[in-house]
């Protein structure tokens, strides 16, 4: 069976789409997968199963050629037509659109596939009817600003009619905690000063080493705040290995959190700005989220912060992250969380769907087992 997966969004989305690929693999064990991803991130290949084929949609190439003064202004159309003719040389048993955007919907109508699942153009004049109720739910609730009862991966799994392959947190003897300060969006970033305070706190108050990770283009900024010895600049394949070999990953709502969920490393997400953790938290049991209760959060994905200062960040001082880590890593009771400007959540599965359980001081205390150990890490 040949399955084509459209994954034409960002890196973090493609990593979440791996959860659906794993579900498809569980349902169709002999299936061969072809991924269609954007060409602006060729290194994503490093994070996709080596048995899978990867094809690139030339989004960036078309944008670059459109600006190239030495070629005709309509050159991108000719190039796209050529690319489509090559795409149409292949046939698939199933094409599934996990991107749910217009480009992937149009491309779905051009693919030769016996069965097509997800958003698609009817090839004539309109979008094909969404007969699947989960697809309609995704369409209605996944836009920025709308509230969803379901995680993004759960909806896609339901649309694909495949089970979630649940990756539990792996036992590990690692003494490394990875901190990734940067996300792709300024609104979702915690200040580097906060990250530095958290890193120092981990080093001084736990038995773990706190390593700061980043991409090559982030190195100069990281070096302004962190000692060089504490920084690791990594490619995607190296990052995946580091995540796999770590005790925990702490970051904003970004790709590394989804990587952690896939390899079974515990994560703590500091959910700021447009991050809507109910839709995009780590998709697996036993992960944690800290989210300030700031009124304007989550804000619009593609717009700049409208406040005079970064209020959600101000509502999440390092003490809360330290407090939760103290509980998770040192087995200490949490500090007073009543009337806190921050909420803490833990992920789990109920009836086959991911849910986020809000943790309170009493809840955390109650979770101590008879021997006084915290159950959160079990």
């Amino acid at each position: 069976m040949k399955i084509l997966i459209f994954s034409l969004l960002r890196l973090g989305d493609t990593l979440m789409h791996r959860q659906i690929r794993n579900g498809l693999k569980a349902k169709y064990p002999t299936a061969k997968f072809t991924w269609m991803v954007n060409d602006n991130l060729p290194s994503v290949v490093e994070l996709i199963d080596p048995n899978d084929e990867v094809q690139f949609f030339p989004r960036k190439s078309l944008q670059d050629i459109a600006l190239l003064k030495t070629v005709p202004i309509t050159a991108p159309e000719g190039i796209l037509r050529e690319w489509i003719s090559i795409l149409q040389d292949s046939t698939f048993d199933l094409a599934i659109n996990l991107s749910h955007d217009k480009v992937s919907g149009y491309l779905m109508s051009l693919v030769n596939a016996e069965k097509k699942t997800g958003l698609q153009w009817d090839g004539i004049s309109q979008w094909a009817p969404m007969e699947n109720s989960w697809l309609r739910y995704l369409n209605d609730h996944m836009q920025s600003g709308s509230i969803s009862q379901y995680h993004y991966c759960d909806l896609l799994l339901q649309i694909a009619e495949v089970p979630a392959v649940i990756q539990n947190i792996r036992e590990t003897k690692s003494d490394v905690i990875l901190l990734q300060p940067f996300t792709s969006d300024q609104k979702k970033n915690w200040s580097l000063e906060n990250w530095r305070l958290l890193q120092l706190w981990i080093e001084e108050n736990t038995s773990y080493e706190a390593i700061v990770v980043g991409a090559p283009f982030e190195e100069a900024q990281l070096k302004k705040v962190f000692p060089a010895a504490a920084i690791k600049i990594l490619g995607l394949a190296e990052l995946q290995n580091e995540v796999k070999n770590s005790k925990m990953v702490i970051s904003g709502d970004t790709a590394i959190i989804h990587l952690a969920a896939l390899v079974g490393t515990q994560s703590l997400t500091l959910s700021l700005g447009s991050s809507d953790f109910r839709k995009t938290s780590a998709f697996g049991p036993g992960h944690f989220v800290l989210s300030p209760n700031t009124k304007c959060k989550p804000c619009h994905h593609s717009k700049a912060c409208t406040q005079t200062s970064h209020l959600c960040e101000e509502d999440l001082p390092p003490e809360y992250a330290q407090n939760l880590l103290d509980h998770l890593l040192n087995d200490h009771h949490p500090l007073k969380w009543k009337k806190a400007p921050v909420s803490a959540f833990r992920t789990g599965f109920r009836n086959g769907f991911l849910y986020l359980e809000e943790l309170s001081e009493s809840k955390l205390t109650m979770e101590k087992d008879n021997e006084g150990r915290s159950s959160s890490l079990l």
């Binding site: 989004r59 050629i65 459109a66 070629v71 005709p72 202004i73 050159a75 991108p76 000719g78 153009w121």
Partner: protein
Amino acid sequence: MATNRTFDLRANPQGYLIPHENGAALSCAIDPEKQARQWMDKNKHYIQLGLPVTVLGIGAGLHLQKLHQLTLLPITAVDTRPGLISWARKIFKQTEINFVLLEEKQSVLTHPLLTGEIGRTLPLIFEPAAGNSLEHFRTSAENLRGRSDEVWTMKNLDPAKPRHWREWAVTYHDVLHIEQKILKEVLS
């Protein structure tokens, strides 16, 4: 200027016919084969884009022969010399290369056979064949790319406005084909 031009063909030692204008060769008289090969190498990245090509300058025609061997896409060859056009039509009569006479001072923007190509063809100048027409070729190429100020003015569009830009780059049919729908999203 055009009326004072003289045009003739002279065989070189290897037997290639080399066109001359006012006694000056319009391609390399010693090794036109090598010159054509070098031109193809220089332009191969553009040719590989898979777009229809308009070559400005016919010269000895060897570069057209090589281009024709490489691509199945439509080729138009433009020159300012009527005699050269007639000669080329004869030697390339087995091919589908379309030869077009563009008079000196005649703009591609008003040429009945070339206006439809504006913005839709890849113009490549064969400079050795330009002679006195080099500036005319360059202006014509700029217009054929559809990116010159003249074209924007003619279409009454402002390249600084993204909406206008997309309108010209993507929407040139009344009904959008699916490629154009995709491009409108990709270029937004």
